[in-house]
């Protein structure tokens, strides 16, 4: 073995011991029902349960809808910051960076004051529905789309826009024909990252305290900690990991294509 490979060994060994080995144990435990032995029983049990199918469906549609919302909103806001700049646009861009360093559950905490039972807008049960989670996820994850978009916009050659404008193209046409094609790679990269993060989001859902909204990470938590059903929790975990890791793989391929 060459010396360079030897140098790479210690960090890889640490990762294997503290991340890959535990993950392998989760997969192993998902095949070991409480009664002992090795079988597909835990999978059959979990797949048959109504709660799991509901959680899977809720997770997927919430993630897709949040990603769509973040993409539309992020694109519009970034357009204004980059191409219709106003005094303070720089400060807004910096605010977005700061926003990314706060934990996600702060958004739900704030929404509890606005829409909660004793809240500002009143006591209609908005937060305990998936729509409350959707609003919180769109709010929290939109900056994750805006950051790559703003970076892409700053590299766009403004001469193209001015040429198009002087030839009589109006703003919607310039956006559709020049800006949108140029920003597709950034949109794809940001969008798939947000999709993965939404599939894995836990804090937002936990803080709504809604019994009606259960996503896969929430199900892992409640099965493991509240019900002590470890094989079941491991099955849900395996499903969740498979979905997120395959999507994240796709994200890496897309963003590498885009040259990011």
């Amino acid at each position: 073995m060459s010396r360079r490979l030897l140098w790479a060994l210690p960090p890889v060994a640490l990762l294997a011991l503290f991340f890959l080995y535990p993950l392998a144990l989760v997969v192993q435990q998902s095949f070991q029902p409480d009664g002992g032995g090795t079988s597909l029983r835990p999978y059959a049990d979990v797949f048959a349960s109504e709660a799991f199918r509901n959680a899977l469906w809720t997770t997927v549609w919430l993630a897709l809808a949040s990603t769509a919302g973040c993409l539309v909103l992020g694109f519009l806001l970034s357009l204004v910051i980059a191409f219709v700049p106003f005094p303070g646009a720089k400060a807004v861009a910096r605010f977005i960076d700061v926003y990314l360093s706060f934990p996600s559950f702060l958004i739900t905490l704030a929404l509890l004051f606005i829409y909660g039972t004793t809240g500002i807008i009143g006591s209609f049960q908005f937060l305990t529905t998936p729509w409350g989670v959707l609003l919180a996820e769109v709010t929290y994850f939109t900056p994750f789309v805006m950051r790559p978009l703003l970076a892409a916009f700053s590299q766009l050659d403004t001469a193209q826009l001015e040429a198009a404008g002087s030839l009589g193209a109006r703003a919607p046409r310039i956006i559709r024909r020049i800006i949108l094609p140029e920003s597709l790679p950034a949109l794809a990269a940001g969008g798939s990252l947000v999709l993965v993060l939404c599939l894995n989001e836990f804090g937002i859902v936990l803080f709504t305290g809604a019994k009606g909204v259960t996503t896969l990470p929430m199900l892992v938590y409640s099965k493991a900690i509240l019900e002590s059903d470890y094989p079941g929790a491991c099955v849900v975990a395996v499903v969740n990991v498979l979905i997120s890791v395959s999507l994240y793989g796709l994200y890496r391929v897309v963003s590498r294509r885009a040259g990011a």
């Binding site: 360079r4 490979l5 140098w7 960090p11 890889v12 990762l15 503290f18 991340f19 080995y21 535990p22 993950l23 144990l25 989760v26 519009l76 806001l77 357009l79 204004v80 191409f83 219709v84 106003f86 807004v92 605010f95 706060f102 934990p103 559950f105 702060l106 905490l109 704030a110 004051f113 606005i114 909660g116 004793t118 809240g119 500002i120 939109t142 900056p143 826009l161 404008g165 703003a171 310039i174 993965v196 894995n200 836990f202 804090g203 936990l206 305290g209 990470p217 892992v220 938590y221 493991a224 470890y230 929790a233 975990a237 969740n240 990991v241 997120s244 890791v245 994240y248 793989g249 890496r252």
Partner: protein, 265 residues
């Protein structure tokens, strides 16, 4: 400039404000406002006082703050060491191995943090590595989660590094260890501090894996905020949340001061 007419420009800005303020500024303002209040059922919070902060800076909450700071500092330093080592070692490898190593080290980003928590719980609850019930299991999980981010940002910085400096140093007879310590690491210092800030912020706000793992005597701030809101103490909870945000921002600010100094060198 995309919109030329003055009226249209104002209209665009109005739409921007209508979207931006309620969605992004309002949540933070609401948490800040609530942290000084005891009631909030009208438009503005009522019952202004600082009792929430007195509760949020002593006893249980103060201990949670120290817990969070210690956890985040330890986890970021460990993650920075392992991540930088992996990035430096990976950059020296052939393309095939480098890709493999990159893929391995970003995996924790894609795996849900709850599952990272579960896997650590499953693996370290039995001998020979019995960590469950100690603070180390929380620190370990945080380290695993943030190492991926440290590795990503440091390896991105390494690919941007100009090889001319290290080649010059090596051609003047510096040994690899000296090149690493005197040339490459100083050049990487700005990205290292940026990565440290990112890791620290992520670890301060980490809730998902922590909820699976925390022992009773090691409750970080996010867990305390959840416990407060869960039993209905929303106003105390938001004061603790403001403390969390302020602590994170202070450390990030300090780190960015180090960074500006490093990049002027």
């Amino acid at each position: 400039m995309l919109v030329h007419s003055r009226g249209a420009r104002w209209a665009v800005w109005a739409v921007f404000l209508v979207l931006f303020v309620p969605l992004f500024a309002l949540p933070l303002l609401v948490v800040l406002g609530a942290s000084f209040a005891t009631h909030w059922s009208g438009v503005l919070p009522s019952g202004p006082n600082t009792a929430n902060y007195r509760a949020a800076t002593r006893g249980e909450a103060l201990q949670a703050l120290t817990t969070s700071l210690l956890t985040a500092t330890t986890a970021s330093l460990l993650a920075l060491t392992v991540g930088t080592w992996a990035a430096l070692a990976g950059a020296a490898l052939k393309k095939r191995y480098r890709r493999l190593m990159d893929a391995l080290f970003v995996l924790p980003v894609a795996v849900p943090s709850v599952v990272v928590g579960l896997s650590v719980l499953v693996a370290f609850s039995k001998p020979p590595m019995l960590l469950n019930g100690t603070r180390w299991i929380v620190i370990l999980a945080h380290t695993v989660l943030v190492t991926a981010f440290a590795h990503q940002s440091v390896s991105a910085a390494i690919t941007r590094l100009d090889p001319a400096y290290e080649q010059a140093a090596a051609s003047l007879g510096a040994r690899p260890a000296r090149v690493l310590l005197r040339v490459r690491l100083p050049l990487l210092l700005p990205s290292l501090t940026a990565a440290a800030g990112l890791c620290f912020a992520l670890s301060m706000g980490e809730l998902s894996a922590t909820m699976m793992l925390y022992p009773p005597d090691w409750t970080p701030l996010p867990v305390l905020i959840y416990a407060a809101t869960d039993r209905g103490a929303l106003f105390t909870g938001s004061a603790v949340a403001v403390v969390l945000m302020a602590a994170t921002l202070l450390v990030l600010f300090a780190v960015s001061r180090v960074r500006t100094r490093a990049s002027y060198r």
